[in-house]
């Protein structure tokens, strides 16, 4: 058990290192090494990662589907924009309400999920998402309708006014905290209960896992993560349109967890990097094919096929394999006091 402690220190350290490396980005753009547009793109990646972590808890760990992520992100975004803008309340209150109000919807869907499985659940969540999107269109006094709604960079504690770069740092901090939180939850009692629910509902019940309770928890967490990411989005991009929150956003988030790695915290980030950031950072710079519209969707589709066929654990598993090749297989077995999901730090990939 001595070993376990050093391991848990170790993984906190990994997340901290990861966060520090991510936070270096503004320095690199200031120094002119990277383009300033990188901040916007990597910031977007972080926002997608946060929503992806929530969906991963739902789809990866609990085996429940949701196509409503976009709707909840939008809801979070509009609530935060309205509360901080129109009502003039502090940023923290905006975030809090932007998470709590969608949470109610999440719990309702969780209740409904007890009577629905698979495809039907997907359709219902999609419906909720579309209803929300239509509401963003129509509820002009609150949402600004088609012309969208503006918001400011966050002001923390009423004193610290952030600009784009410091908001980016703020996003990194939130993401790293949520990653640690997700890791802890997923590798403890909660994660096992969700896993059990996915693996076998009857066995889960026989072991004392209440399906109602854990489905509600799974949906609440997914909704809370999605709406939080939406609220962060509106304060980072500083603008929100109803047309942003359509099915493709939900699908992209689903694609990124499948490609990055189901049931993997770092995999979610890797997936977001591949699905969201790579088209903007790499593909658009390639001559001729870079100009094709919707190329990123083609890329995601092809990647999903490749990953599902050849790398069921997602891209993250490539890194595990690489790691065990480097460190040697035998050593790894001896040093495995924790659960199967041994996280690797992926700092290198983003540089």
């Amino acid at each position: 058990m001595e070993r376990k402690k050093s391991f848990s220190m170790n993984y906190y350290l990994r997340y901290l290192i990861f966060g520090c490396v991510m936070a270096l980005l503004p320095l690199l753009t200031n120094a002119g090494i990277l383009k300033t547009s990188w901040i916007g793109i990597i910031g977007g990646t972080i926002i997608y990662t946060i929503a992806g972590l929530g969906l991963n808890l739902l789809l990866g760990w609990s085996g429940l589907i949701s196509l409503g992520t976009a709707g909840f992100m939008g809801l979070g975004a509009y609530i935060s924009a309205y509360v901080t803008g129109d009502l003039g309340l502090p940023f923290e209150v905006g975030i809090l309400l932007a998470v709590l109000i969608p949470l109610v919807f999440g719990i309702l869907i969780g209740l409904a999920s007890l009577r629905m499985e698979g495809l039907y659940l997907g359709i219902v969540t999609l419906c909720v998402s579309e209803v929300l999107r239509k509401t963003f269109d129509e509820l002009e006094p609150v949402t600004g309708g088609f012309s969208g709604k503006q918001a400011n960079f966050p002001t923390l504690l009423g004193i610290f006014k952030l600009n784009q770069q410091s908001t980016y740092i703020f996003l990194v901090v939130i993401m790293v905290l949520l990653m640690m939180l997700t890791y802890n939850l997923a590798n403890g009692q909660l994660g096992r209960a969700l896993n059990a629910m996915r693996g076998s509902q009857v066995a889960a019940q026989a072991m004392g896992v209440s399906l109602l309770k854990y489905r509600l928890i799974a949906f609440s967490l997914a909704t809370a993560f999605a709406s939080l990411s939406g609220a962060l989005y509106v304060h980072f991009i500083r603008f929100v349109y109803p047309s942003t929150w359509t099915l493709p956003v939900s699908l992209v988030i689903m694609a990124l967890i499948v490609i990055g790695g189901l049931r993997s915290v770092f995999g979610t980030f890797i997936g977001a990097l591949i699905v969201y950031a790579m088209p903007d950072l790499v593909l658009k710079n390639i001559p001729v094919i870079g100009d094709i519209n919707g190329l990123s969707y083609v890329l995601s589709g092809v990647l999903i096929i490749i990953v599902v066929l050849f790398y069921p654990g997602g891209v993250i598993n490539l890194f595990y394999k690489l790691h065990s090749v480097i460190t040697g297989g035998g050593k790894k077995k001896a040093a495995l006091p924790q659960t199967g999901e041994e996280q690797e730090s992926m700092e290198e990939t983003h540089e």
Binding site: L185, A206, M207
Partner: protein, 273 residues
């Protein structure tokens, strides 16, 4: 009637009273009554389709019986009627089961699968777990140690961090058994524990059933088709056919019972002619 009896120094731990369940017009279990003593290994036998697994499901509340009562002496020492209680609350009372077709989580290690069995033992809240506060960490550590002990007891501690998905059937059965032991049960219900095992594994199984009873002090109720196992392991046996009670007694009594012979081998005239 309402309390469990104390027969010649031994106490009843589970009593089924007039249990019936209908599926549409089919009476899967019809007015069945039997009782199990504490620390007993009790077998439930019957030809295919006799309703054995249905009885199990009625006891563990996966099915709601149409009529009858299931009295159980809980781990807290009280006698309760289990009928109508939520499925996931049954384990809390000290009653745990395995499944006919092993129900495990393939993507997880053996250790994690076994830890699922200790779900009820975690007292730390989700908040404490999310932040890995001291209590959550301490509990996790204690329960992991316990899981390791159970795995050692089952003889599969060496495989603790292997994925369940790649394991042979015999090992998977052991994992399921280990999982039931995690919650310190009073009564373990085994649904066809020997199905799919070879002779050596069946031999090991009967030994581990004894060991489980002696070391963990539990009562064991098992449904089994392997008559050699049932006859050698069980203290008492209840035979049913088409959901109806046939006989209850020691293995020797059951073997001699004409009603049981008829159910398994057909009517007497047929077998003689």
């Amino acid at each position: 009637m309402s309390e469990l009896n104390n027969v010649s120094g031994k106490e009843e731990i589970l009593r089924i009273e007039n249990l019936s369940i209908n599926f549409g017009g089919l009476k899967a279990v019809d007015d069945l009554s039997f009782s199990i003593m504490e620390n007993e290994i009790f077998g439930l036998i019957g030809p295919n389709g006799a309703g054995k697994t249905t009885v199990f499901n009625c006891i563990t509340q996966f099915y709601r019986p149409t009529a009858g009562r299931v009295l159980f002496k809980t781990a807290q020492g009280e006698t309760e009627n289990l009928v109508g209680q939520p499925v996931h609350s049954i384990i809390r009372k000290g009653l745990v089961r395995t499944f006919q077709n092993v129900e495990l989580i393939n993507e997880l290690s053996i250790m994690d699968n076994v830890l699922v069995g200790a779900h009820m033992d975690f007292k730390a809240s989700g908040f404490e777990q999310a932040l890995r506060l001291p209590r959550a960490r301490r509990e996790e550590k204690q329960i992991r140690e316990k899981a390791y002990e159970v795995l050692q007891f089952m003889g599969i501690a060496g495989l603790a961090y292997e994925l369940v998905g790649g394991q042979p059937y015999g090992v998977r059965k052991k994992v399921e058994m280990a999982r039931t032991l995690m919650c310190s049960p009073k009564l373990i219900i085994l649904d066809e524990p020997a199905a799919g095992l070879n002779d050596v594994e069946t031999q090991q199984l009967s030994e581990s059933i004894y060991q489980v009873r002696d070391k963990y002090g539990c009562t064991i109720l098992l449904v089994e088709h392997d008559m050699r196992l049932v006859m050698s392991v069980c203290d008492r046996i209840c035979a049913i056919s088409f959901g109806k009670f046939l006989a209850c007694g020691t293995p020797a009594e059951i073997q001699k019972d004409p009603a049981v012979q008829e159910a398994y081998l057909g009517e007497k005239e047929d077998s003689e002619s």
